[in-house]
Structures are given as structure tokens and as C-alpha cells.
């Protein structure tokens, strides 16, 4: 327990020091984006990794969060610090809306419904031009300010998203290790048995959906001010699939899994931009290889390696 806490402090220190080491703005940008994707991956992991509800439309919640922030700041000149939580709540509200009709759906059927939802969100953003300017998007989203200090530099944005990620992970860990999280996992493992244990499964599924949407909405809100531009292309269907694949590759229903997955799926292809045209090809290939060789993801693979070496040591 103590060792874990020390490791955590160490990891946070290393992450905090990174902007001083990574001077190149392109690499810093990659870092910022990958942390944002880690947050998105962790948010979808609540819904699928813990509560077991297939969700292939997580990017739509990020898009909703991004647009809520953009519209509130541009049209109503509301401070970012008010717009940000409202973006989370707005996304959570849509998570709730999506959660209810999908209560009767399971597995693949639920996945297809969430895909449909994500496409509807994209189409609304695209065609409701009077509000969203359609495909032209919303440029010129102002930077957040704290007093007279404006968050404009990459370094400042890096710390902002890092704080969001830490809060996200901290919240998820607290929830998972509570009555609420245990109910989610029970539903994932066996919904019928969960009901027989007195769990109101509908309530907990909707709760997982809206909470996952909340964190995705906050990530989207960050994207809006960081890039200072949002368009219906910002979070596409493809992003939903990649976000979904992140915890799957890293290790679903674990703390580090979504983070590792986000690193593998977002950073590696970006870092190998030279092969830009082919990168989705090998990301796809990687997914196949990981899923075939270790369905529990990279973390699961590491766990079984440790287990195997421990057993070998015991035997010798």
C-alpha cells in the first residue's frame, strides 16, 4: 500500500516535470493531446470496462462538451471556469438521455445504438448552422484566464489537462472501490445475478453512462479552449472507435490500462508520422495482435508474465 502511494507520487512528479524536459512544441502538443485521450479512454472505461456496457460513441460526448464550452464562451461570454463544468453536465445529460432507451439493449445492439447516437450528434452539429456555423466550425474560442493570468502557453495547457486527468482517475478509483463501483462490476460480470443481489441495474447503468459522459465532456471542453476552434470533425466516429480501443489494448477495468492504451494508440502513430499514410494500418494490426494474444490487454499480459515468473521461482 505504501509502495503504491510512493510510486504514485513519483509518477505525478515525473509528469509535472515533463514540460521542462520536452522543449519541442510539437512533442509537448503530442503530450497534451495524449493526456486528453487518456482522460477520454478512462471515461469510456467507466462505461465498458467497469459497468460492461458497450459504448462506441464516446467521442460524441466530447463533441458535446467542446461545443457547449465554445458556444457559452463565444456567444454568451461566459468564463471558462463556468463553461467547463456546464460542458461536463451537458454531456452527462446526454449520457442520461442515451442511457434510458438503451436499457433494454445489450452487447452489440447497444454498441450499434451508441454509434447511431454519435452520428446524430455529428449531423446536428453539422446542419444546425444558425447555432454551430455548420462545417465552418467555431473559431476564436478565448483562452481561460485566472485573474490576470491567461492560460495560453502549451506548458500552461499541459498542467491544466494533467490536473483534469488526475482528478478523473482519482474519482474513478474512489468510485470503483465503493459500493457504487462494485455494483457496476457485478452488472458487467452477470447482470441477472446483480439483480438478484438487489442492485437496481437500470439505475447503475444510466449512472455509468452519464458519469462517463461527464468526464468526456470536460475533456471536450478542454479541447475547445486548447485548439481554440471546434468543428463537427473534431470528434468523429473514428475517434470513438480509437477511444474505445484504448482501454481494450491497455487493459480494461484497470487504473493504468486506459492510460497505456492511449499512449500506444495515440502517441505511437503520431510519433511515426513519417509513415503517416500507413499508420492506421498498423494501429489496426496492433489491435488484432494484442486482442488475439492477450484479451486482457497489455496490463493483463504483464500480470500473467509476473504470475508465471513467480510460479517458476516457487517451483525452483
Amino acid at each position: 500500500m505504501k509502495r503504491r502511494a510512493l510510486l504514485l507520487v513519483f509518477a505525478v512528479l515525473v509528469l509535472s516535470a515533463l514540460p521542462f524536459v520536452v522543449a519541442d512544441p510539437y512533442w509537448l502538443h503530442l503530450l497534451i493531446m495524449s493526456i486528453m485521450y487518456m482522460m477520454l479512454a478512462a471515461s469510456v472505461d467507466i462505461i465498458y470496462g467497469y459497468a460492461g456496457q458497450l459504448n462506441l460513441g464516446q467521442a460524441a460526448f466530447a463533441a458535446i462538451g467542446a461545443y457547449v464550452t465554445a458556444l457559452l464562451m463565444l456567444r454568451l461570454h461566459i468564463s471558462y471556469w463556468v463553461a467547463m463544468p456546464l460542458s461536463g453536465l451537458g454531456a452527462a445529460f446526454f449520457g442520461l438521455l442515451l442511457g434510458f432507451p438503451t436499457l433494454r439493449l445489450r452487447g452489440l445492439y447497444l454498441g450499434i445504438a451508441t454509434m447511431g447516437f454519435s452520428e446524430i450528434v455529428r449531423l446536428v452539429l453539422l446542419t444546425w448552422s444558425s447555432l454551430t456555423r455548420g462545417p465552418m466550425g467555431l473559431p476564436g474560442i478565448p483562452s481561460p484566464t485566472i485573474g490576470s493570468f491567461a492560460i495560453e502557453s502549451k506548458t500552461a495547457y499541459y498542467y491544466l489537462i494533467l490536473v483534469y486527468l488526475l482528478i478523473t482517475i482519482f474519482s474513478i478509483q474512489r468510485l470503483v472501490n465503493s459500493r457504487v463501483g462494485r455494483a457496476w462490476i457485478a452488472i458487467r460480470e452477470d447482470e441477472t445475478a446483480a439483480m438478484a443481489m438487489g442492485i437496481d441495474t437500470a439505475r447503475y447503468k444510466v449512472m455509468a453512462f452519464s458519469l462517463g459522459a461527464f468526464f468526456a465532456g470536460i475533456a471536450g471542453s478542454f479541447y475547445a479552449v486548447y485548439i481554440s476552434f471546434v468543428s463537427p470533425d473534431a470528434f468523429k466516429m473514428m475517434d470513438s472507435y480509437l477511444i474505445f480501443a484504448m482501454p481494450a489494448v491497455g487493459g480494461m477495468g484497470t487504473m493504468l490500462g486506459p492510460l497505456i492504451g492511449a499512449l500506444i494508440i495515440y502517441v505511437l502513430p503520431e510519433a511515426t508520422r513519417v509513415f503517416s499514410d500507413y499508420r492506421m494500418l498498423w494501429v489496426g494490426a496492433l489491435l488484432v495482435v494484442v486482442m488475439v494474444s492477450e484479451p486482457r490487454g497489455v496490463l493483463g499480459g504483464v500480470a500473467s508474465l509476473i504470475e508465471r515468473s513467480r510460479r517458476a521461482r516457487q517451483e525452483s
Binding site: 474519482s171 459500493r179 462490476i185 457485478a186 445475478a193 438487489g198
Partner: protein, 261 residues
């Protein structure tokens, strides 16, 4: 008033009548068995009583409360706990966590309490853990608390399912073939457990079982089903002597064996 009053319940799946107008009453403190050949509708009755499937006709009341329209989690909260014929444990959870989930409907911590880790939330979590450990200890499973449930041997999974159902604090415990797949020694242990549930914990038990030694050994009263209909009800001795039951289920060999034994 009986604890469980089943009054002419019928279940139709399309044209198929799985259960036809079955009635029986379970008194508080009894061990009550439902027996009958495969496909007689025993598990369907359990599913109707626990809200997993609707009651087509008739009514069932638990402690005076109609079960007809209640969702499963509300029925569990009323005090009806159950196990499943084809073990339904949470495989990728530890043994202890399985039991902790059983306490769900007797605890209250919600989203906010868990996030903020308020005093009551923390106390409740610690208490739940202690009580779950206590239950595991009573059934000799404490040493396995950190094991992944999916890795347990079959016999222990059966035992754990009963412990988990016990955690929901039921007044009536529905056990669906608890001895299925157990060897003779494991069945002996199980019989001991079930008797303890009645004597030590004061639970009323409704039991589906094919192991006749177990059923005849511990039941206070037995209902026999065949093709969805009740063909007999009574005490074990009377059931063993009932010609219709022997014909439909026990087989003539059973009578001879008992006449000899």
C-alpha cells in the same frame, strides 16, 4: 399467515405452459423442497418469485406483499435471496467482493458519498467488509477471500453462492439445485450448511434439488411437480410412498431400494 403464499401461478411462454396453476404455502422456519423431473417448471417458479420473469396468471405474496409487479432488486430488498442452478457468481471479482456485493441492498452509500468519502460512507464500507469476512469465516471460506472467484473449484463456488445470497439478509432463501455436480462428501457438507441456515440463522428455505437423499433428509415439506403441474405435496415419508410421484419421478427402483434399506 404463511411467509410465502403461492396461489395458482401459471407461466406461459407463447403456447407452451411451463407452470400451470401451482399453489403452495411456505411457513416461516421451514425447509421446503420442490422436486420433479427436468423441465417440470421448478426453476421457472423461482424466476417468477424473484421477478426475473413475469407471472402470467395467479399471484404470489411474500409476507403479505404481492410480488407480481415488483422488479427483482425490490424483491431482494423485501427479503427473498436466491442462488442459481448454473452458478452465477461474479467471476472476475474476488471471493470477498462477491459477498460485499451481496450487501448492496442493505447499504446506502451513493455516488457523492463514495466520491467525497464521507464519514458514514467510510464507516459503512469498513463495516460491510467486516460482515462479509464474518460470513466467509462461518462457512470456512475466509482463507479464499482474495482469490478470483472464477478460479475456485466447483464445490466451493456452490458454497460461495449461498454465502453471497445470505449477505442479502433474506428471510426466505431460494436454493436452486445447490447439490448439482457435487460429490458425496461435498453434498454432506452442503447438507450441514443448509441445516445451519435454518437452525442458526433462522432462515426459511425453499429448495429445488434432485439429490433425493438430501431432499428427504432435511426437508420439512415437499411439493412435486410434473409437466408444470403439482402432482403431490406432503412430508417426505408421504411423498416417498406416493404412487404417482414414484411413477413420474422417483422411479420404481426408488421404492424397492427404500423398502430394502
Amino acid at each position: 399467515m404463511p411467509l410465502l403464499d403461492v396461489n395458482g401461478i401459471t407461466k406461459r411462454f407463447g403456447g407452451l405452459v411451463a407452470v400451470a396453476e401451482v399453489s403452495f404455502q411456505v411457513e416461516e422456519g421451514q425447509i421446503f423442497a420442490v422436486i420433479g423431473p427436468n423441465g417440470a417448471g421448478k426453476t421457472t417458479i423461482f424466476n417468477m418469485l424473484t421477478g426475473l420473469t413475469g407471472i402470467t396468471e395467479g399471484a404470489a405474496a411474500f409476507a403479505g406483499q404481492d410480488l407480481g409487479r415488483l422488479p427483482p432488486h425490490r424483491i431482494t430488498a423485501l427479503g427473498l435471496g436466491r442462488t442459481f442452478q448454473n452458478i452465477r457468481l461474479f467471476g472476475r471479482m474476488t471471493v470477498l467482493d462477491n459477498v460485499i456485493v451481496g450487501f448492496h441492498c442493505r447499504t446506502r452509500t451513493g455516488l457523492l458519498g463514495a466520491l467525497v468519502q464521507t464519514g458514514p460512507a467510510r464507516r459503512e464500507w469498513a463495516e460491510t467488509r467486516e460482515r462479509a469476512l464474518g460470513l466467509l469465516r462461518m462457512f470456512g471460506l475466509e482463507g479464499l477471500k482474495d482469490e478470483m472467484t472464477g478460479n475456485l473449484p466447483y464445490g466451493q463456488q456452490r458454497g460461495l453462492e449461498i454465502v453471497r445470497a445470505l449477505a442479502t439478509d433474506p428471510r426466505l432463501l431460494l436454493l436452486d439445485e445447490p447439490a448439482a455436480g457435487l460429490n458425496i462428501a461435498e453434498t454432506e457438507v452442503l447438507m450441514g450448511h443448509i441445516s445451519r441456515l435454518q437452525s442458526e440463522f433462522g432462515k426459511t428455505i425453499l429448495l429445488i434439488e434432485h439429490d433425493m437423499k438430501l431432499v428427504m433428509g432435511i426437508s420439512d415439506r415437499i411439493v412435486v411437480l410434473d409437466h408444470g403441474r403439482k402432482i403431490a405435496e406432503g412430508e417426505p415419508a408421504a411423498i416417498q410412498a406416493d404412487d404417482q410421484v414414484i411413477e413420474a419421478y422417483l422411479g420404481t427402483g426408488f421404492k424397492k431400494a427404500h423398502a430394502r434399506g
